[in-house]
């Protein structure tokens, strides 16, 4: 099972838990599992079927592509963080 570190303002969905374990071999499936366990997660992370432009994903310390197909390993550590663009 991979671990998702829960963004501070979403801990209301996980009754305070800052880390939760999820299953799924890529980010899309991980988010599906999060939504299943903690309804509301999906709405925060997704916009018409894609990751919101304002959100970036870090998997084991590397930034993701921003796509839902980024691979997730067993016991990966996943962070959802605000995207830092070039500043548009």
């Amino acid at each position: 099972m991979a671990t998702v570190v829960v963004p501070a303002l979403l801990r209301k969905l996980t009754d305070g838990a800052d880390r939760v374990t999820v299953s799924g071999r890529n980010i899309g499936l991980v988010i599906e599992d999060l939504e299943r366990q903690f309804p509301g997660f999906g709405e925060y992370l997704l916009q018409n079927g894609e990751l919101k432009p304002s959100i970036a994903v870090s998997i084991d310390g590397d930034m993701g592509t921003g796509g839902l197909l980024d691979k997730v390993k067993e016991n990966s550590e996943i962070f959802f963080v605000p995207a830092i663009g070039g500043g548009l």
Binding site: A8, R11, P53, M63, E77, P82, I84, G86, G87, L88
Partner: protein
Amino acid sequence: MAAKPFKVIGTRPIRHDGVDKVTGRAKYGADYSLPDMLHGKMLRSPHAHARIKSIKCDKALALPGVKAVITSADLPDLPDKMEMAGEAPVNLAHLSQNLLARNKVLYDGHAIAAVAATSAHIAEEAVRLIEVEYEVLPPVMTVEDAMKTGATILNPKLRNKEEGDKETNVASHIQFKRGEVEDGFKAADYVVEREFKTAMVHQGYLEPHNALAVYNADGKSTIWTSTQGSFAVRALAAAVCGIPETTLKVVPAEIGGGFGGKLTVYLDPIALALSKKTGKPVKMIMSRADVLKATGPTSGSTIRCKMGCTKDGKITAAQVWMAYEAGAYPGSPVGAGAMVIIAPYDIPHMIIDAYDVLVNRPKTAAYRAPGATNAAMASETVINELAEKCGIDQIEFRLLNAAKEGTAQTAGPPFKKIGYVECLEALKNSPHYKSKLEGPNRGRGVAGGFWFNVGMNSSAVVNVNGDGTASLVIGSVDVGGTRAAQAMVAAEVLGIKAEDVRPSVGDTESIGYTDMTGGSRTAVTTGAAVFAAAEDAVKQLKERAAKLLEKKPEEIAYEDGSFYAASDPSKKLTFKEVVAKFARTGGPVSGQASVNLRAVGPSFAATLIDVEVDPDTGKVKVLRATCAQDVGKALHPSYVEGQMQGGTAQGIGWALNEEYVYDDRGNLRNFGLLDYRMPTCLDLPEIETILVEVPAPGHPIGSRGVGEVNIVPPPAAVANAIANAVGVRMNVLPMSPPRLLKAIINKRSGSDTQIAAAGR
């Protein structure tokens, strides 16, 4: 590759575009013209907040020489949500409304209409003839006023999801939390809490925004413009004008400074719309007043910062509340500010609340390490107060708490290899820090800074010529010498001289997609693309060499400028010998690469500043400045030093005299370069630089972004130096003479030295 000693990288060749720039031949956006060209000018709002009741253009249209007038009615009404335009997330409705106001004007200088005429003078006169009827609304100028309950609302569509879906001026709230902050403060021997106010400031690029657009009868169009991102202009201008993105070609001209302010569009879509309406090329150049009133500033802010430490100097907790001015539309860099404010330190317990707040000021744009400089003004001065309480040297205190590999970043992920400790050590061992500072009213201050740097997408093409030289095409606009750096990367891989690579910046139809020059990404990501493109060329050349040597390609090695087979090292072919025969070995050799770089080394800096304060006037003289920065691996050290010196200079300007001054009606008072006071040659000392090189993991050369982090420490370093000089703690930017004098007088009279941000 990174293991081998570099031959070209790290040297200081003359930049390839240098001669054009010292002879006046380099063509910047405003230098382009076309036959039968019209000139465009904008009408802008004299009110900070008003409803537009009517716009009458007939008098303007009647003026001889006037060809067209457009308003927001001539542009499509775009969806009010974040979308990807090209690769950049943007709210197109807000973007479009910022270019030509719809129904409401939201700041002094908000564009309302545009005129195209046969001369710029006629267009200006025509603008004066457009009649607009306003219903003036009360302006909301500060985050405090905007966040009050019952505050005047700028955008009724904006809702507060956290508190029962009410109307609000707060566009977003972000929170970061680690541990239990109250426990952290309980464990502290000393706690310092301060409130800071920082003024809105502008990037101050010397070249005003410009655009030359031509819309052809076949529906294809072209824009020549000074931008940090030609592909961003293509995406945004096409979206605003409602044309297919790829029918527009954007040609990036030389650019006269950007610092983040030329990532978005202001004139490009307007010039295009005017060209579409008139059927003629239209050129637009902004006045300096319009640049200051309606483009780019970065957020003013209010920041409350509370930190605690043990008496032996270990920081136990940090609590931060920060609200940034977004300007007229959402999008201040407060999220970035929140993620950098305490990032340089390993702090077990923290909570940060960050708010993006609408006010009747121009829509803010990125400015060099967006959001980080105001944030560091707060955290890095509080840290000095803690160091004083502990009686620990200001550099030692930072070393005690400095983030290292493995330290959790604010948003959670751990740092990989970083060089903050190395920067602090370098500063500690610098001649500057070891020198004595003598004389009355003189003081010395240190501050640190952190910036992420971004990766994103870049493309590069390396074409090898038969004479052993090569041409390089990249999509990254060159604002400060990156073209030379990229040519050096190609030369390094190809094993030829930097002078033998001719680099050029391609337009949107001559190079693959490349993100903007920003986020300190160009030397890093485009560098990686150039590296890969050159390796691709070398791979092809090995195949050619294999044919000539009658060996298998996989046998061929390329070292020190010659190809040979491992099985027979005696038979060598030079680079020149191989490329000379390319026609007979399989045709031209062209290496190509497009990369999406994700593992990007963040950068840290530490800056040391000496000042002298005139206690009679509150005027500060900067005596000496030294910046130490982790640059990973410097490609062209002279231009890396230049970035560090430039960022330090901008930081000193921000510290002392730069600020937007609005009157109570919300009108900008200082909309020229006389009263928006950027440092002149006489306001700055020699700026010493120390290049710290901690190679970035996962990068072929080890480069880190070098463009931004250097602006972060100076304001806090100056504030710390002032405190050291005259014993007053400034909590406001800029620390202009009247404000500092007031603080000094308050101190003399024994009253609180924490002065109000009010007054100039």
